[in-house]
């Protein structure tokens, strides 16, 4: 187990390093940002001065090594647009994204797991077929499309929920939260539903597959033969055993949801870091894009590692496999 963790840590470090090179070299090829920052009438000397100030006059390798050294200290440079440190911009926006994703993931588990068990217990019932068809729609239709339809229904047609922005927030220490006010919840409802529906569709499919796998097992048959109440079989014997794939998938999907929040945040003008990324890509604000990507790579690699370790911790048979 410790060997496994150390091994995976080295791999994770390697992936982060490779990705930092790819991200940096790739984004270095974007057009010259000075052309956007100075007025068209600026002289060549002014442009040169700006290039020098931004460090763009040095060779790409010097720029990369400087970048890597600074990145290790949490310094990703300053935004070309606002002049604020890129990392600070992202961290300011992070609570909004994390809040949205946590609410969406909670929704998806609370809705997806029960429906998935239902569909797994009675695979031939019309209700199960309806659940499964609905889940195909849920994860094949693009996220922004679902958001658009929800806006059309709830914000335009019924006029009961707001379609954009974050609403009233309450500061808890340095972090502003929407979930503590009614207005905040109203603003959170549609984006969280948009993000949550797609993830719920996936949870339904995972839970159903796991349920179908566990049901024919001897321990379920034995529990039935023992005359246990069906509710006990469901809550103890079944739920415990389908938990492994559910936790694994929910963990990995958390990372996916943070990435897909890019789309949801853009639809609902939710002031999270995903919206910041899109705005920065469009305005060629390179330091912010690079900082976001490196942060995401770091986060996803760590998340994968944690999920792998958790998986080892809760599934004894997986531990056996590693030892072999």
């Amino acid at each position: 187990m410790p060997v496994f963790i150390i091994n995976r840590l080295f791999q994770a470090f390697g992936v982060i390093l490779v990705m930092s090179v790819l991200v940096f070299v790739g984004l270095y090829l974007i057009g010259d940002p000075t052309s956007m920052l100075v007025s068209p009438e600026a002289t060549e000397i002014e442009r040169q001065a700006l290039r020098k100030a931004l460090g763009l006059d040095q060779s790409i390798w010097v720029q990369y090594l400087t970048f890597l050294g600074n990145a290790a200290q949490g310094d990703f440079g300053r935004s070309f647009l606002t002049g604020q440190p890129a990392l600070q911009l992202i961290i300011e926006r992070m609570p909004a994204t994390v809040e949205l994703v946590i609410v969406a993931m909670t929704f998806s588990v609370l809705v997806g797991v029960p429906l998935g068990i239902l569909a797994g217990l009675r695979p031939k019932a019309p209700s199960s077929k309806a659940i499964m068809t609905g889940s195909i729609l849920g994860f094949s239709l693009p996220n922004f499309w679902i958001g658009l339809m929800l806006i059309m229904l709830f914000a335009v047609y019924l006029g009961v929920l707001p379609a954009s922005a974050r609403g009233e927030t309450v500061s808890v220490g340095p972090v502003a939260l929407s979930i503590l006010t009614i207005d905040g919840w109203q603003h959170l409802a549609l984006p969280a539903l948009t993000l949550g529906l797609a993830k719920a569709a996936l949870m339904i499919r995972v839970t159903r597959a796991a349920t179908r796998e566990v049901l024919p097992m001897d321990y379920i048959k034995f529990a039935r033969a023992k005359g246990l109440r069906p509710s006990r079989i469901l809550n103890v014997h079944l739920l415990k055993n389908i938990l492994i794939p559910i936790i694994t998938v929910a963990g990995l999907e958390f990372g996916q949801a943070i990435a897909f929040a890019v789309v949801t945040e853009s639809v609902f003008s939710w002031p999270g870091m995903g919206k910041l990324l899109i705005d920065s890509i469009i305005t060629l604000d390179r330091p912010v894009v690079v900082a976001y990507l490196i942060m995401m790579v770091f986060f996803l690699v760590i998340l994968n590692l944690v999920v792998d370790i958790l998986y080892m911790a809760i599934d004894p048979s997986a531990r056996e496999k590693v030892r072999d």
Binding site: F144, L148, I281, L293
Partner: protein
């Protein structure tokens, strides 16, 4: 698994795997509905220049007086009936949807075809040769698949810039890894079968073994993945264009049409983004219905 040809007096039609597949496919009404939907969307989309009531990108034909007309209204200037209304630049929404669908389908089809070719080649080579080549290729695939598709596509587009060709390249880079992994999985099983062994004993060249013996037997799961991936490609392209980093303004796809109408939706002019949205959803659902049923038929575990 092919049935030997037997001519019996009762059956006049010989049963081939393909014919059995066709019969199985047509038995499912939902899948047939999906297929018909796909055809009904694809024909007018590719025939858009000939059947659309208006060329929505011919600026000369547009008159600003006809802008933002609700569905079913008749234009004052040209006399055309706009069945789905007009947008803020007086473009006929129906025509724009037909042209947009054409762009969406073209991008999806091209990107899936190329990534299928790349992914299949990589997967087959990895499985057949094994060793360090397999380890290297699959490590690249693993790393790429651990990052969300939307992020990979966004990074690619922010590096490459805007344009139809750039979107296609970004989609290829996102998708090839799925094909590579699927093909490798199937090919690993097939490569230890007797017929590959027999082909090796005949000392056939590796190119011939891979292309003529290994590839045909890896096709069923590939067909399923390619179908469903077509829907994913349409959805991803629409998302990128909606975010404003996809196709250029001169060749709007469905995603961009939806984005254009988005600001008008809140003021009640729903039709500008609603109809492109419906067209997009129908295309994705149609392909998924077909793909889902293909998976049921072509999965060897379900075969008799």
């Amino acid at each position: 698994m092919s049935t030997p040809t037997t001519v019996s007096p009762t059956t006049t039609v010989e049963e081939t795997p393909f014919r059995r597949f066709v019969v199985q496919f047509t038995e499912n009404r939902l899948a047939m509905a999906g297929l018909i939907l796909m055809i009904l969307l694809a024909i007018p989309a590719f025939g858009a220049p000939w059947i659309a009531p208006q060329n929505p990108y011919d600026i000369g034909a547009l008159d600003i007086l006809d802008s933002q007309m609700p569905p079913g209204s008749v234009a004052e200037v040209s006399g055309i009936t706009h069945w789905l209304g007009t947008d803020s630049q007086a473009r006929d929404v129906l025509s724009a949807v037909l042209y947009g669908m054409r762009t969406s389908l073209l991008v999806a089809f091209l990107s899936v075809t190329v990534s299928l070719l790349i992914g299949t080649t990589v997967g087959l080579c990895a499985a057949y040769f094994g060793g360090w080549l397999d380890a290297l290729l699959m490590r690249i695939v693993d790393i790429q698949l651990s990052f969300p598709a939307i992020l990979v596509a966004l990074v690619m587009l922010s590096v490459l810039g805007q344009g139809l060709d750039k979107v296609i390249i970004a989609l290829i880079i996102v998708q090839w890894a799925y094909f590579a992994r699927t093909v490798r999985g199937t090919a690993l099983v097939e490569r230890n079968r007797e017929y590959i062994l027999a082909a090796r004993c005949l000392s056939l060249g590796w190119r011939r073994i891979i292309a003529r013996h290994l590839l045909p037997n890896c096709l069923p799961p590939l067909i399923v993945i390619a179908t469903i991936d077509l829907a994913n490609a349409i959805a991803l392209e629409a998302t990128l264009s909606f975010l404003g980093v996809g196709v250029p303004v001169t060749q709007p796809s469905l995603g961009m049409l939806i984005a254009n109408g988005f600001e008008f939706m809140l003021s009640g002019q729903y039709w500008i983004s609603f109809f492109p949205g419906i067209a997009l959803a129908l295309a994705i659902v149609g392909i998924n219905l077909v793909g889902d049923h293909l998976r049921d038929i072509l999965n060897p575990r379900n075969a008799l």
